[in-house]
Amino acid sequence: MSNLVVLPMLIPLLTGIIIIFFYRTPSIQRIIAGAGALLNIAVSAYLVQRVYNEGILTLNFGGWMPPFGISFVADMFSALLVLTTSLVSTACLFYAFKSIGEEKERHHFYVFFQFVVVGVVGSFLTGDIFNLFVCFEVMLIASYGMIVLGGTKLQLRESLKYILVNVVSSALFVGAVAYLYAIVGTLNFAHISQRVAEVGQPGILTVSSLVFLVIFSVKAGLFLFFWLPGSYKAPPAVVTALFGALLTKVGIYAIIRIYTIIFYHDQAFTHTIIGWMAAATIVLGALGAVAYRDVPRILIYNIVIAVGFIMIGLVVANQQALEGAIFYLIHDMIVKALLFLLGGMMITVAGTPRLAEMGGIIKRYPALGWMFFIAAMALVGVPPLSGFVGKLLIVQGGFSGGWYWLTAIGLASSLLILYSMMKIFMNGFWGEEKYAAEDAEPVSLKGMLAPAACLLTISILMGVGAEWVYPYISQAGEVLLNPQLYIDAVLKE
């Protein structure tokens, strides 16, 4: 037991609280936020290494033994996601320094930013289902603040819808916890899992698991992603980057967690349903990515495709597929943030989100152009880059697990992702120079390219150095395959 487990959540929380006091001076806010973010990367990396050496770490708050108190559990899956979260959020933070503008900084932008990170990290680390709900709410309430900050008409309109959808799904979450509590009488993940295993998951528990599936699907954008394209289009690019990289991934994490730790006894039924939902998600997302001709929407529909693709890993649920899902999840968090940051720069430079009105950007901004190209290749899954390994593992697992049709849909989606990405690249970067504003002055991208370059480097290293990353991924996959490891680590009996 060690307090290290709570630090990745505590650091952004304290940073956020301190920043509140400096709302008049953005320069001090930036220093504090930047220092906190860098510290958090170091702490999360140390956490990953500790979990790698010592196995699952748990922390029981107040010294109450589980299941009676709330416990935080860092297994390798959580720890890796926490590290990825701190890397991605730091890159977005440094991008925000240059792009967000003083007006928003004075109105608590960084406070909301830190609290989103608090909620995301808390959701990854918690070992208690009601605490998961609370962490979701911390994350969502801060995200309401971020999505509406600035108060343009578009933002007001879209945040009304975003909040409504999330209020309803949060109410359902509390209802689902009520049903689960009535059946098993406990809230701790490990203890619930033990009790579910004792009764062998009868029909009522499967129904309960499906209610959770609906709730987390709304959060993750798995099939129920109707709210996502409109809402993610409204805020500034850096906010969309943060949301696209983190918020939907928390929903994915929650689905993977509950279906590997708790409700794994009736896979023939539940996983078939998730399989159909994943297939529909991929197809609908691909249609959206192909249909639209503006940069944000194409990228937003690519979030949706990735959610479906990661779910294939869960549906197949053998060792390779789960490892692939973990690898692809981490890769996707990094690359989606990167693409939205690059897309944001494209829009800043061209003065419009529409592809028809931009062109030839690569002549003035070659670094931006080639970074976008490499990031797009990573997203598609071209071999030396990070997307390849995850896709390969999921596809191998899918074929050896007998899910041919689902894996085929996943593979075919890569082609459409490639088409949609090349549509952006060829229309935006190639061709004759076109800018929405006549005689557009070259915009300085100084300070914005560097965070994106860091994310790109991480993505390349993850692909080239897959051999070094793999032991960590494999350790994470092991816990998902053997829930008993998790239960023993938490309950220690």
């Binding site: 609370v134 309430i141 309109r157 309803v168 509590y181």
Partner: protein
């Protein structure tokens, strides 16, 4: 008793859902509050309504009602209170800026 409570919760859910599907924004927010009421009563009901003392140790009783769901409901109430107040202010602001509370007119077009 649980059956009566279940029916009450069902009615709250039905009315809440109906209100959320209407066009006026204020009705929608009222619908979400009814939905939250329903969920909180559900949490209370599902934990069991067996008679027992209030969960205070000073009462010197042999059996108490389950204290855990009461703590969960209290947590959930303050969260939904925060969200609802934010939602109301946002609706007010949206009414000032956009000049309508009709969700049909808040659809949005692509040219914005």
């Amino acid at each position: 008793m649980e059956i009566l409570m279940s029916i009450a919760v069902g009615v709250l859910f039905a009315v809440g859902t109906y209100l959320i599907l209407t066009r006026s924004l204020i009705r929608i927010i009222l619908g979400t509050t009814l939905l939250t009421h329903g969920v909180h009563l559900l949490l209370l009901t599902m934990a069991g309504l067996k008679t027992g003392g209030v969960p205070l140790l000073g009462e010197q009783l042999t059996n108490y009602t389950d204290p855990l769901p009461q703590a969960l409901i209290l947590t959930s109430i303050v969260i939904s209170f925060g969200v609802t107040s934010f939602f109301f202010v946002l609706a007010y602001r949206a009414y000032q800026e956009l000049g309508t509370d009709d969700m049909e007119q808040l659809r949005g077009r692509d040219d914005e």
